[in-house]
């Protein structure tokens, strides 16, 4: 088995695939990249058993073969090379030799057959979405997902496909984001929960991508295919909470404000908030929004006034400033609305402008009850 490949091209591909590999593996074989050579096509795969990603690379070769190459060692070596062709030759003594302009390097490899088989998707449905749209959907939602091992379903992003729209939802029970595209649809209704790790990898690759992503899914797995890459992952098993039920329908109190102004004020004031609760208080009366925070333990206190457009009853409501900051920073619009009903119900943050045609974003944040 022998092939020739550009050093930087290989490095770039391996760095993306390397994102799948866990730093600590119970199965030693998972510390390797699987190289499957078939003439001028080299398929490289990485897996953590939950997620398997592979890319097809073009190489110069006449031979065939399957080997597993130590990922860390290979990546470290490749990083040091300037752009140049590298020749990989599999020797008989269970090593693979890399020949560069400078010299040669030998790595011990394992038999490719040891590498876990990729899952075949049976009875899969298919939906096609533009890479950049998928990346945006992940980007807008993933920060709101949870980390609670007791509620694994909330540790992922809920994909809800229908013939009218595609909806992506994430929540950790404190905040919730619903990202909807009515300009992209599926042939049939489908729902599944994607774990975070493969989504983060996809987000990294697909940002700004004009390529189409084919999403295939059945009850247990999903497969994303685009360009030369394929990612298969296991879905999170379970029923996603009925998120629609927690979106308050009647919200008589509506605040409209410049996002950047609101964001910078919340950021500044929150420095003075309690370090564990991060609680800030919004007091709205007339056209004035008063944002304040206090850390009684250290006698720190801050207060700012902003003018806003407000319709509704005067009210005071508490929020965890971390959640507000995350949400406000994740939006791109110039202005946002914050709709509220009572201080114990979720506030709904939505962008007013800067959205694509058919793009809808709803962000919910549960308040902090202030008992004083």
């Amino acid at each position: 088995m022998k092939f020739i490949i550009s050093s930087t091209y290989l490095l770039k591909q391996l760095q993306v695939l390397g994102g799948v590999i866990n730093s600590k593996n119970t199965l030693p074989i998972l510390d390797n990249f699987l190289f499957e050579l078939d003439k001028d096509k080299l398929t490289v795969s990485a897996s953590d058993l939950e997620t398997t990603m592979s890319a097809v690379l073009e190489v110069e070769s006449e031979s065939q073969g399957n080997i597993a190459v130590p990922a860390r060692l290979l990546l470290e070596t490749l990083k040091t090379f300037p752009e140049q062709p590298l020749t990989f030759i599999v020797e008989n003594n269970n090593t693979i030799e890399i020949n560069s302009n400078h010299g040669k390097y030998a790595l011990a490899y394992a038999d490719g057959a040891e590498f876990p088989n990729t899952i075949e998707l049976e009875e899969a449905s298919t939906t096609v979405i533009l890479g950049d749209i998928l990346a945006t959907a992940i980007n807008k939602t993933i920060f709101a997902s949870g980390n609670d091992e007791l509620r694994p379903v909330m540790n992922g992003v809920f994909f809800q496909f229908s013939t009218e729209n595609l909806t992506f939802v994430a929540t950790d029970a404190h905040k919730l984001v619903k990202y909807q595209r009515t300009d992209v649809t599926a042939d049939q209704v489908a729902e599944f929960i994607m774990p975070k790790k493969p989504l983060n990898i996809l987000k990294g690759i697909l940002e700004g991508s004009e390529s189409e992503v084919k999403i295939e899914y059945n009850v247990s797995n999903a497969k994303f295919t685009f360009d030369n890459t394929e990612l298969i992952c296991r879905l999170i098993d379970g029923k996603y909470p009925n998120y629609e039920a927690v979106i308050p329908k009647e919200n008589p109190n509506k605040l409209t404000i410049s996002r950047s102004q609101f964001y910078s004020t919340v950021r500044r004031v929150s420095i003075f908030s309690n370090k564990t609760t991060h609680q800030i208080r919004l007091k709205i009366a007339g056209a004035e929004l008063n944002i304040s925070a206090e850390d009684i333990d250290y006698s720190n206190k801050a207060e700012e006034r902003l003018t806003c457009d407000y319709q509704g009853d005067d009210m005071a409501i508490g929020f965890n400033s971390k959640f507000l900051n995350e949400m406000l920073s994740n939006l791109n619009s110039d202005n946002v609305t914050l709709e509220m009903s009572v201080p114990s119900r979720a506030g709904i943050l939505s962008p007013i402008d800067g959205l694509d045609e058919g793009e809808h974003i709803t962000m919910l944040v549960m308040p902090v009850m202030i008992n004083d």
Partner: protein, 367 residues
């Protein structure tokens, strides 16, 4: 009865027709008349009835209409709670001369634990007669007392020689006393439970005592073991001096029955305001909101909801109460609505410390 504790001496003092007697005391022209405090001929309920009215069958919590029908010459007077409270405080001061272990049940009723008392008087029976005498001298009002080894027996005993009497159930009389007792007088046995007891062939304490604990648990759930113990003279509930309220509420009987939720919203708003004031006064907040609905046929329904956090704010109370109101269809027109807040933060002793630091709770979606 094997009890590791020394035998306690508990007195239950119960004022005789308290509200009505106060009215008769303050207004001599009402003396000897059939009198009802609260309610009127067309509406409302009787809070208290004088003994002359009770002779006609008028009872507290009876509707004014029914009371008037039973006793046509019944005189209705509006209640004056401030005055009752004033007298109640005088009476309480007398109790406190004897013991600090005073547990007021209401304005006109209290338990006293005189096992150890300030006068060093070993006879609870004598203390009870002294207290009753002092109350009469200082207020001109009569009361009855029950003396025994626990709160339960003392309370039943105070009813024994009412009005203006007292009854001591000595430790060795407790068992026969309870065995002979009508089941309806037992602790926690109301109309419904009594019916159930009857159906199971339980009419007296003795019948109850014959039933094994498993049988009682099966039929009465949690209360089963309570009944089992109580009939054996075991009721270890201490006399708690600063009894904290378990719930705070406000309710209103309407001059006309309401049939539409829309009209009730306005009433709920008033009740929320009133409840908020009471919560402020008591400096408490609660988690469980209960909406009480009394229908025109006097059937009672309660709906409640427990939140994750303590509230005392009228808008939150109203919000939850409204939700409870619309939760289910009303099955009749409504004569009374009430909102109460339970699960108070007085239940948890550690909370007052935290409130200083402005307690805050991050709310969650209800998934």
């Amino acid at each position: 009865m094997e009890s590791p504790l020394p035998i306690r001496k508990i007195i239950h003092v119960d004022m005789d027709a308290f509200y009505a007697s106060v009215e008769q005391l303050d207004f001599p022209e009402l003396r000897g008349k059939a009198l009802a405090v609260g309610g009127n001929e067309v509406r409302g309920v009787v809070s208290a009835a004088s003994y002359q009215a009770r002779a006609f069958g008028v009872r507290s919590a009876m509707s004014g209409v029914l009371a008037k029908r039973l006793c046509p010459e019944l005189i209705f007077v509006p209640p004056r709670f401030d005055r009752y409270r004033e007298i109640s405080m005088k009476i309480r001061a007398i109790f406190l001369e004897y013991t600090d272990l005073v547990e007021p049940l209401s304005l006109d009723e209290a338990y006293l634990d005189v096992t150890e008392n300030k006068k060093g008087n070993p006879s609870a029976t004598l203390i009870a007669s002294q207290i009753r005498e002092r109350i009469f001298q200082q207020t001109g009002l009569r009361c009855s007392a029950g003396i025994s080894i626990n709160k339960f027996v003392a309370k039943i005993a105070s009813d024994y020689n009412k009005p203006n009497g007292q009854k001591t159930v000595e430790p060795d009389e407790v068992i026969p006393f309870l065995e002979a007792l009508d089941i309806r007088k037992f602790y926690g046995v109301g109309k419904v439970t009594a019916q159930k007891m009857y159906q199971l062939g339980i009419f007296t304490g003795l019948d109850l005592k014959k039933k094994p604990i498993e049988f009682l648990n099966e039929h009465f759930g949690k209360s089963g073991s309570l009944y089992y113990n109580v009939v054996r003279g075991i009721h270890n509930s201490p006399v708690k001096p600063d009894r904290v309220p378990k719930s705070v509420g406000a309710e209103r009987t309407f001059t006309e029955n309401l049939s539409s939720e829309v009209f009730m919203l306005e009433r709920l708003e008033h009740l929320s305001v009133e409840l908020e004031q009471r919560l402020r006064k008591n400096k408490v907040a609660g988690k469980t909101i209960t909406l009480k609905i009394k229908y025109s046929d006097f059937s009672l329904q309660t709906r409640s909801k427990t939140l994750d956090f303590y509230i005392s704010d009228k808008s939150l109370i109203l919000d939850t109460a409204t939700e409870l109101l619309y939760q289910e269809k009303l099955h009749n027109s409504v004569r009374l609505l009430g909102i109460s807040l339970g699960n108070l933060n007085t239940d948890a002793p550690e909370i007052p410390v935290q409130t200083k630091k402005s307690l805050s709770v991050q709310l969650k979606f209800k998934f």
